[in-house]
């Protein structure tokens, strides 16, 4: 554990000294690798946009959808090169995509499970290639998708027989893909002072119960990674994954470091944020501490919907009606009569509030998550988030392996996914990883919105018109992802209320496609009163008469602050609503729902009563936490 460091009014001076040192090659954060420092070093940090959830042909649910792009291709795409996607005519891809703005970073997160199985089934001559399971894989990919995933995602799963005794063949077969993943990350990582692009070696642990996702991405800090990724065959439960990572990496590997990002809690049937362990026993303080140490972030939104909150599930917040699925796990998607409306426990806002309850009981908060978003692309196309160019996503959507789907390119409830944004001094693995660790990160549903969010006790109310918003933000408080410093003690005076300084700038856009203006800023507060969950959503700034603004800023003082109640605050930045991908496709195909003859059967989803024609694009910041009484304020300032 790093030593806690209290922040003080003199913090700005010490901090500037550190910034000065950085220019000479010293960095105000721990470094673990050899590389040139970046020319564009910014002591006050810049936002870096990327994607931390990317599948390529090494993922069985991507390869059975016709995805041929490999990790190298995914990184080429993220760096701005044009990339072909399925369907293919021989070797020629019939569709292609290109990012007009490259990403700053990306991580390929292929499933740890089935990496070896997929390779065996596709490579004649490997032991197991001629098995029935592989025959099904090659001839009936959709059937194989269900069979293999149903097998690998159940607790206590054992490998298919074709993997040989103790799965030895499949483990050996997974070595080349895992090495290729590492080589691709190294090959695309810019270690020069130009710092154009950063990669992370990563994988997805694909655990859960039958069809209920407990999926997590594991992101490594640098090139020092375990011999093989830990999948569900080696670690059935999240606790096993934490144990394995600690043994193989954090404590076992020289210079190895990792964090875990859970995702799709909206498909976990309430299991992602349980307050019991996998054996059904209440969480212990040690389990809560370990989880808080490893699971620093959560993916709040991606291709398979939004996991922030759900209107009607413990909230009346209307903006929770955003990119929602109508089922709580995959058995609900594929077997309609099993579909259940997801309850509050599937959502991050509930978990953040429950974390406060757990901290009161255990002394550690197991759900202390920073928020970010990503795509979960299964085409190997990180950062392809444009609504007007959504090609579908492979994975759970309709297949384009042989030909384009006749109807919509994706299931109605899915979407192109979002981006992860990290506030860092420079675009290097160490700087970005430290941003993730201290949770100074946010997510967007696609647009490149910039947002700063600080909390303290003494910010001047006129901070928004001061030229030193950011300097003051760090010097007198903490950025997103941090803990409010201890409540100032003023004898005889009423305790002050937290001051939240929030500033957002719209996506600058591209010459042919300007960014959308901002509609408003909101603060979401969650707190606990006598053990009960409470929440409130405040509109704190808005553009004039709904016309939208380039920039919105506010120093907001919590009017309902109770210094005895633990609380968290996060910000939500909303753009003016714009057409959703599905509406763009439906309109382009001439669908007019008032005229049934214009609606061919394959385009009936266009006129589904649940179809939302607009999307309220947004950004979610990581929370800032307030804990009453004595606390170890771990400074998140540089």
């Amino acid at each position: 554990m790093r030593a806690p460091r209290a922040i003080s009014a003199g913090g700005a001076v010490a901090w500037l000294a550190l910034a000065g040192a950085a220019a000479g090659g010293e960095r105000p954060y721990p470094t673990s690798e050899e590389r040139e420092p970046c020319a564009a070093y910014a002591p006050l940090r810049s936002p870096y946009f990327g994607d931390l959830h990317v599948h390529t042909t090494f993922s069985q649910d991507a390869s059975t959808q016709g995805t041929r792009n490999r990790p190298r291709d995914a990184y080429r795409f993220a760096r701005g090169e044009r990339l072909g996607i399925q369907p293919y005519d021989g070797d020629a891809a019939l569709r292609s995509l290109k990012l007009e703005r490259p990403l700053d970073f990306a991580a390929v997160t292929d499933h740890a499970e089935l990496m070896g199985e997929t390779r065996i089934c596709e490579t004649p001559g490997l032991p197991g290639h001629d098995s029935l399971s592989c025959w099904i894989y090659r001839n009936y990919p959709r059937v194989s998708f269900f069979l293999m995933n149903a097998n690998s995602s159940r607790p206590g799963a054992t490998r298919h027989g074709f993997c040989g005794p103790d799965g030895v063949h499949c483990r050996e077969a997974a070595l080349p893909p895992w090495r290729e993943i590492q080589a691709a990350a190294e090959g695309a990582y810019d270690r020069s002072s130009a710092c154009r692009f950063t990669t992370f070696v990563a994988y997805e642990w694909t655990g859960g119960t039958l069809f209920s996702n407990l999926h997590r991405n594991v992101i490594f800090r640098n090139e020092r990674v375990p011999e093989l990724p830990t999948g569900t065959f080696e670690a059935s439960h999240p606790e096993d994954l934490w144990r394995a990572l600690r043994a193989d990496c954090l404590e076992g590997g020289e210079g190895c470091d990792a964090i875990i990002i859970p995702h799709n809690s909206n498909l976990s049937a309430g299991l992602m944020f349980q307050t019991v362990d996998s054996d059904g026993n209440p969480l212990t303080a040690e389990q809560a501490r370990v989880r808080a140490e490893l699971e620093r972030l959560v993916e709040v939104m991606q291709h398979k919907g939004d996991s922030e909150c759900r209107l009607g599930a413990g909230t009346t917040d209307e903006l929770c009606g955003f990119e929602k699925l109508s089922f709580e796990n995959f058995s609900g998607k594929f077997v309609p009569f099993l579909a259940r409306e997801p309850g509050a426990q599937n959502f991050v806002r509930w978990a953040l509030t429950e974390g406060l309850v757990q901290r009161q009981a255990l002394g550690a908060n197991p759900f202390k998550f920073g928020l970010l978003a990503s795509t979960d692309t299964h085409l190997g196309t990180p950062g392809a988030v444009r609504e007007d160019r959504h090609p579908g996503h492979g994975g759970a959507g309709p297949s384009a392996a042989k030909e384009l789907p006749k109807g919509l390119p994706d299931d109605l409830e899915f979407n192109p996914g979002g981006l992860a944004v990290l506030w860092a001094e420079e675009n290097t693995r160490d700087a970005l990883f430290e941003a993730m660790r201290r949770r100074e990160v946010y997510g967007t549903s696609g647009p490149r919105i910039s947002v700063r969010f600080f909390a303290g006790w003494s910010y001047p109310r006129r901070l928004c018109i001061s030229p030193s918003f950011v300097e003051t933000g760090y010097a007198q408080g903490v950025p997103m992802g941090g803990d409010l410093p201890p409540l100032p003690q003023a004898p005889g005076a009423a305790p002050p209320a937290p001051r939240l300084a929030l500033w957002a700038l719209r996506d600058p856009g591209t010459p042919d496609r300007p960014g959308t203006k901002l509609e408003r800023l909101q603060i979401v507060k969650g707190w606990v009163e006598q053990g009960e969950h409470r929440e409130a959503v405040y509109d704190v700034a808005a553009g004039p008469h709904g016309a939208g603004a380039d920039s919105l800023c506010r120093v907001w003082v919590d009017p309902d602050f109770d210094s005895d109640a633990p609380a968290f605050y996060y910000a939500r930045v909303l753009e003016i609503p714009t057409p959703r991908w599905s509406a763009l496709v439906c309109d382009a195909r001439g669908v007019d729902c008032a005229n049934p003859q214009s609606v061919p059967p394959e385009l009936e989803p266009c006129c589904d009563p649940r179809h939302r024609r607009t999307i309220h694009e947004r950004a979610w910041t990581s929370p800032i936490w307030y804990t009453p009484g004595t606390q170890s304020a771990q400074s998140a300032a540089p």
């Binding site: 590389r35 040139e36 020319a39 564009a40 070093y41 910014a42 006050l44 810049s46 946009f49 190298r72 369907p87 005519d89 021989g90 070797d91 020629a92 019939l94 703005r101 490259p102 004649p124 001559g125 290639h129 001629d130 080589a183 691709a184 190294e186 090959g187 695309a188 990582y189 810019d190 270690r191 020069s192 002072s193 130009a194 154009r196 030909e403 490149r448 910039s450 700063r452 928004c464 018109i465 001061s466 030229p467 918003f469 950011v470 500033w503 700038l505 719209r506 600058p508 856009g509 591209t510 010459p511 300007p514 960014g515 553009g543 603004a549 380039d550 920039s551 800023c553």
Partner: protein, 332 residues
């Protein structure tokens, strides 16, 4: 006792000569292979396939590429068969045996016999799955072979020197700016920015204090050395391009950004320069191996072409049935 005679140059000379002789004989033998002929009918098929899949007819250049690809595939297929992959590759074997069982409605039968029958019927040339598998095997083999040898230091340096556009530090500028917000200034934006520029041109106040005369900007007013792409992230692409071309040492502008107008003072610039090998070693190695893979495949195809006769019914450019290239031929 070591076989010292193996190290003698004369022995090498004879051995290499013998090898070349054998290869030459082999090549002559192979030239007896039938020529590759791409008929007008086949070209018509290629066009129809393209139309069915892409929804439009191929342009002349696209059709040319399809025909070339057809020749390449045939060459790779022949080579794969010459190497016996149609017998040794398990996927191909199983497919051919299955085909034979289907054709003969006979579930039994010895796989080796069935395979021989399938080959005798030329199924390995006709079955699309088998063809693709054999071609792919040749291509992957060429790529994999090219990756086995680790590039040497001089090779990496040479590659780096050959691709300055891919591995260089971009030009950068360090600037301060005074921002005028469109949100705040509205219709006054242009007039206000010109007035402020005139005031700043008098030298009052100093560049350090000037930003306070404008509006606050989220990314700050004194920026580090930034490239065009990094500037575009903060201000938009038009501003970035314009800012990189500004001469230093005076207030200039106003430049339009996505958010309003900016008066800009450029403090200094750094020119584009080649990256050092150490800083881009991983990227260079990766790019070099990829290039080698492509080159190995091209070389293989060149060798195969050199010993096969190819007869093409060249698609006639400007022929009555050839569509004009470009979007006018597009459909749907």
């Amino acid at each position: 006792m070591s076989a010292r005679w193996l190290a003698q140059p004369l022995v090498h000379f004879v051995a290499i000569g013998g090898l070349l002789f054998a290869l030459d004989r082999l090549a002559q033998h192979e030239q007896a292979e039938p020529a590759i002929t791409i008929t007008p009918e086949r070209i018509a098929e290629l066009r129809e396939d393209w139309l069915a899949r892409a929804g439009r007819l191929p342009s002349a250049a696209e059709l040319e590429a399809l025909v070339e690809r057809e020749v390449d595939e045939e060459l790779l297929l022949r080579e794969a068969r010459r190497l016996g992959f149609q017998r040794s590759d398990p996927l191909v074997r199983r497919r051919l045996v299955q085909n034979m069982r289907f054709v003969s409605s006979d579930d039994g039968g010895d796989p080796d016999t069935l395979l021989s029958q399938a080959l005798a019927l030329g199924m390995d040339r006709k079955d699309l799955v088998v063809r693709r598998r054999l071609v792919q095997k040749m291509e992957l083999g060429a790529f994999a072979a090219a990756r086995t040898r680790e590039p040497s230091e001089p090779e990496l340096r040479e590659f780096l020197a050959r691709h300055p556009e891919r591995f260089s530090e971009p030009a950068r500028v360090r600037l301060s700016h005074v921002y005028l917000s469109r949100d705040r200034r509205g219709d006054e934006l242009d007039a206000a920015s010109r007035r402020l520029l005139a005031r700043l041109a008098d030298g009052h106040p100093s560049p350090e204090r000037a930003p306070a005369l404008g509006d606050p900007f989220l990314a700050g007013h004194d920026l580090p050395l930034l490239s065009e792409r990094e500037l575009a992230k903060l201000f938009g692409a038009d501003f970035a391009r314009a800012a990189l071309g500004l001469a230093p040492g005076a207030w200039r502008g106003p430049l339009a950004s996505s958010y309003g107008r900016h008066l800009v003072w450029v403090h200094g610039r750094s020119a584009a320069r080649p990256s050092s090998l150490d800083s881009v070693r991983g990227e260079v190695r990766e790019a070099l191996l990829a290039e080698r893979g492509e080159a190995a495949l091209r070389e293989l195809l060149r060798r195969l072409r050199a010993r096969a006769a190819v007869h093409l019914a060249r698609p006639r450019a400007g022929a009555a049935d050839a569509p004009p290239p470009g979007p006018s031929a597009a459909k749907g």
